[in-house]
Amino acid sequence: MPADMQNPPAQRETAAPVGSAPIKAIKLRHPWRIVIAVILVAALALFVWDAANRPAYDWPEYAKYIFDRRIAAAAWVTIQLTVYSMIIAILLGLLLAVMRLSPNPVVKSVAWLYLWIFRGTPVYVQLVFWGLISVIYNTIDIGVPGLQPLASWETSELLNTFTLAVIGLALNEAAYMAEIVRAGILSVDKGQEEAATALGMSWPQTMRRIIVPQSMRIIIPPTGNEVISMLKTTSLVVAVPFSLDLYTRSRDISAVNFNVVAMLLVASSWYLLFTSILMVGQYFLEKRFSRGIGAMRLDKNAPIDESAGTGANTGAVTTTPQTSSDEGGRI
């Protein structure tokens, strides 16, 4: 056997000078790539040049309104709508996700029913419903049914259109957030819960300390997407009707100055600005959370001895005496 083994390496050695020389080959050409690229760039340039000169876009009007005080205020309202709705949606979604994972079939079914209704109907329709809430329920009462209420409020006084818009957006979004959170929780290995249980940890402790922190890696990237989506969905609050958001405000202005296209461009520019900022944030979040959990926090706790780490990973414990002394398991 040893004699046989010695032959192949000898042959390889004679072949080595040819094998290790860098290959000088003529590169494969891709003429169609260039053609397609030229066509696309030309089409885009043509469109931009045309748009810049087309009177219907009315760029002077665009420039006049892009930083209009009313528009800026409306942009701020849109951000408020987004932030408030998302906060409520995340909290409610967390609750619904836990309910769906509950061993209690009634609790589980209630959560399922919620999802069925709020995911199964258009958000626009839901917003119209919220707008009609004071017609459907004239007063909001607290007390025992059938008896004189302890306290009573006029619905239309208690809930203004901004509040209704937030409620409508949040309750719809909560159904989607619930599924994201549920997927995150289910993504954590079953062994994690088992290990925590075996250590005597209670279910709430296991959730809070072990399961939820690990599920964040799965939950955070799609939640970023939902924020971007929510920012755009706020343009539907006119259904309530709430009219101080970015889209509705620019439509209202265009109803006065008759410059619909320019005002749409103004609104779109603001939406694009916000979504761009969110996309940058999203990029960093995803980069951070797509790394292995171990690696994710590695940079925080600085002093890690590189050589020991890599030695352990490659399993080279027996080869280097330096590491093997620390590997042996002290007795």
Partner: protein, 255 residues
């Protein structure tokens, strides 16, 4: 020894649906004893181990740890299921080491070890950290306290897992195939830690395929197949001279 056994199983049965996995296991583990459970996969040995700390509920028979009925409470001739809190209290005195380590990946080695003492036992952070460092040192990982599991080898991870279980100061340690997921060259370091633990008088039940470990360290060996105990006794005797034909054919394949 007139002391009561650490673990006493009386015709323990366990079903998964219509599949009866344990068909009446009766055995005793004395205090300080190291028992190895061996047998082919599917023989129910892991399930039995998981019944001992109530990760699986026993369907029939009785299982006692330290004279306490596991998972149930007997009052006035009736059995009551334990509340989660009480069941958790039972579990924290029983350490468990898993085949797949199941370390918490978002915590460093040290954080893994101090988590349960702080959260469950209510130990102060300083005391828990001191204890955790001592335990990691004991398993030969004093240089890896701040490493995350992803940066540790399998053998190192399993040793952290052993330290994590020991941090709860258990009176009984369960090992569910602790070396089966390891590269062959890393098995030794984990077995060394277990040997050292056995020498301190810890009561241990070890599900394993490491017959060398069983021969060298265990006080007793139980061979299970098809949900029943086929043969048990002194490991050296059983391994050298198996009485039952099923044991013989199994051992001829693994030895």
């Amino acid at each position: 020894m007139t002391e009561s056994p650490m673990v006493r199983a009386e015709t323990v049965c366990k079903n998964f649906g219509s599949n009866q996995v344990l068909k009446g296991i009766t055995l005793e583990v004395a205090r300080g004893e190291v028992m190895c459970l061996v047998g082919p996969s599917g023989s129910g040995k892991s399930t039995f181990l998981r019944c001992i700390n109530h990760l699986e509920r026993v369907d029939a028979g009785r299982l006692f740890v330290d004279d306490q009925l596991v998972g149930y409470e007997q009052r006035g001739g009736k059995l009551y299921e334990l509340k989660p809190k009480v069941a958790a209290r039972q579990r924290r005195d029983i350490g468990m080491v898993f085949q797949r380590f199941n370390l918490f990946p978002h915590m460093t080695a040290l954080e893994n070890v101090v988590e349960a003492p702080i959260q469950v036992r209510g130990l102060g952070k300083a005391a828990a950290v001191a204890k955790g460092k001592e335990l990691l040192d004991r398993v030969g990982l004093s240089g890896h306290m701040d490493h995350y599991p992803a940066h540790l080898s399998g053998g190192q991870q399993q040793r952290v897992a052993i330290a994590r279980a020991l941090a709860m100061e258990p009176k009984l340690m369960l090992f569910d195939e602790p070396t089966s997921a390891l590269d062959p060259e890393l098995v030794g370091e984990v077995l060394d830690v277990m040997k050292e633990l056995a020498s301190t008088g810890m009561t241990m039940i070890v599900v394993t395929h490491e017959m060398g470990f069983a021969r060298e360290v265990a006080d007793s060996l139980v061979f299970m197949d098809g949900g029943v105990v086929v043969e048990s006794g002194d490991p050296r005797e059983v391994l050298a001279n198996p009485q039952h034909q099923r044991t013989q054919s199994f051992l001829s394949k693994v030895l």
